[in-house]
């Protein structure tokens, strides 16, 4: 009897990333063919649509980029916390908090010009997310409360707060009793970069690059990584953890909040419950696939965004949402997850014979 085991390579394959990406993608697409044929679709037609709708035209790129923005920022939020070994599972709620703050500024600043209003909205969104994440950060640093649980629970708090606002104080009198916040003014909407792609793409890219740089190039980022690798080592190196935990959680929340502000201002008509769009949870996957490295988040988010856009698009050809989701997962983990073979190799080992007393 033989079985396959993953064996860690003594040295990671240098320059293996593009190759493993390609192989993983091909394997995933081949497996996807089986899935599509089994569910009664023409895989060629589906793949063509998948490709064309996500990266096949400038319109397609606009969709992909717009989607990569919240994915990338949420992924960055999780990765920044993750580089210190903290788990921010609350990006979803922080996105909502950011969007709420931005929507609030948009209401206060009715009639203000875009160059004033939009930056204020985005700053407010950062504060909103940061505020929501600061509680778990302080609780973790001061009394050791597990941040996974607190951040997760605050998601619900943020959602309920938004529901209350929409059903109560923010209800638009012109909505005939329907629970709707007022429409965003044109001045509150992010200008377009090209096609329907908005300027959030640039903002998100700069923010991700900035944090990628901070974490990999500064002493502060270095301390973060030491603390993330081993708390005892950090103490040994004279790095104080408590202040850093709070700072990192606040930054993480702020980044997620910014995603909410950009989502609201860039793609929404008004603030609704769906503004967070599950990006906060998807961000955990983005960060994990980027191996918790902020610098890797942008690329993963772009691929993730393209796969999501393509995966949604093929549903218009009659692929059910569940088959589409499986296909998306296949491609994503095939293409990105194959990177594991840069560090591990597959070996088959003999299974020992059963014998003895049993």
């Amino acid at each position: 009897m033989k079985r396959l085991v993953l064996v860690r390579r003594e040295q990671p394959l240098r320059g293996g990333q593009p190759l493993s990406f390609l192989i993983g993608l091909v394997v995933a697409l081949l497996a996807g063919i089986l899935l599509l044929v089994a569910s009664g679709h023409n895989p060629i037609e589906i793949y063509e649509r998948l490709f064309n709708s996500s990266v096949g035209s400038s319109n397609a790129w606009a969709k992909t980029l717009n989607r990569a923005v919240p994915l990338g920022l949420a992924g960055l939020a999780v990765a920044v916390a993750g580089s210190m070994g903290l788990w921010n599972i609350g990006a979803e709620g922080q996105i909502l908090a950011g969007a709420m703050m931005a929507a609030w500024i948009a209401q206060i600043g009715e009639g203000w010009a875009s160059p004033l209003l939009i930056p204020l909205m985005l700053i407010a969104s950062i504060l909103g997310g940061a505020l929501l994440a600061s509680g778990p950060g302080i609780a973790r640093a001061q009394i050791g409360v597990n941040e996974i649980i607190t951040t997760l629970m605050l998601n619900e708090v943020a959602l309920r707060l938004l529901q209350w606002l929409i059903h109560g104080p923010w209800k638009d009198p012109e909505s005939r009793g329907f629970p709707l916040a007022p429409l965003l003014a044109d001045e509150a909407r992010l200008p377009k970069l090209f096609g329907r792609a908005h300027w959030g793409v640039i903002i998100a890219f700069l923010v991700i690059a900035f944090f990628g740089f901070i974490v990999s190039r500064t002493a502060w980022g270095y301390e973060l990584k030491v603390a993330g690798s081993s708390g005892a080592t950090a103490r040994y190196a004279g790095i104080s953890l408590n202040k850093k935990i709070i700072t990192v959680m606040v930054l993480s929340g702020g980044i997620a909040g910014l995603a909410g502000g950009i989502e609201l201002s860039g793609t929404s008509d008004r603030i609704v419950e769906g503004v967070s769009g599950g990006y906060g949870f998807a961000g955990i996957i983005v960060a994990a696939l980027a191996l918790m490295r902020p610098s890797g988040v942008a690329a993963v988010a772009l691929i993730f965004g393209a796969v999501q856009v393509g995966g949604l698009s093929i549903q218009t050809l009659g692929v059910s949402s569940s088959v589409s989701t499986i296909l998306q997962a296949l491609i994503l983990f095939g293409a990105i997850g194959a990177g594991v073979f840069n560090r591990y190799s597959l070996k088959s080992v003999k299974r020992e014979k059963k014998g003895g007393s049993t």
Binding site: I44, G177, G274, T316, S321
Partner: protein, 361 residues
Amino acid sequence: MRRRLLMLLAVVLTFGAVASACGSDDDGSSDVKAAFVYIGTPGDAGWTYAHDQGRLAAEEATGATTQVVENVPEGTEDFANYAREFIDDGYSVIIGTSFGYMESMAALADEYPDVVFDHISGYMSNETNFGNTFGRMYEPRYLSGMVAGAMTESNHLGYVAAFPIPEVIRGINAFTLGVRSMNPDAEVEVIWTSTWFDPAVEGDSAQALIEKGADVIAMHQDSTAAGERAEAAGVRWVAYNSDMSAFAPNAHLTAPVWDWSNRYAQIIEQAADGTYSGGSWWGSMADGVVALAPIADDVPGDVQAAVADSQQAIIDGELHVFAGPINAQDGSVLVAAGETMSDGDMLGMMSFVEGVIGSTG
């Protein structure tokens, strides 16, 4: 290793070549193609299920091609992205079945004047290619209230409601009026779940009402959880959206249900012959878009007969659910005797009638 890799690559490239060769097949059909955008999946047995049943029937009736996308969230770009995709594929009718698609549909209707957009449950429209469709669900709700009012023994009924918006409040009021037409002492207690589909919350809310003494549970969400709790507790249940008797065979009394087939066929036909003209369409039991599901066998014959009479009277226009005299929750006059509430007032209804326990805040 390298050789195998090359072969793999060759296979993929071949697939690619084939793909581009046969990607542009065109069947030359000129039939209308209609796309439906769902908030959930037909598997919910509720709201989306009813729409999908309507779509299938309309497809059968008109011969049109239809396509659906499921689980499309509100408030994101997804709706617009789907719609554009469909339009690029030659679809000329886009039907959105959730309230939150409204702004996207309005904007798209401007952008694509040749495409018909019909929106379920909203209020925006234009005079040409954008309309809204809804049904006077309060009519069958009233009838279901009659059944519930006749069957309650504790004179305490529960209503597990989604959000305090006019559509839901109108339903609660109509139900309560139906209950009290049979049983003037009965009261209807409301719990808000702030959910449209969350079986855990909705089931727990039903449970809470049952524990407070409610022996009939009505509901306004898309899950069947309330019915399952009623079944387990041995009390009765008025379902919603579709005939849900399979989920709680003993508890199920009846259900006010949607039947979208005729309306969908109508939209598709109007789009095909160019007569679609937007505007608001608020269909009634007479139009068939709303109806009452079959009533449980153990409901006494005289009750069944009374409900049937009222149903006929509503269809004939002789009975109007919101015809005065109706008192508001605090006892003041809501609709004076001899008057009937206007459509505008009904669409903006934000207060309860007498006999409802709970608040709209």
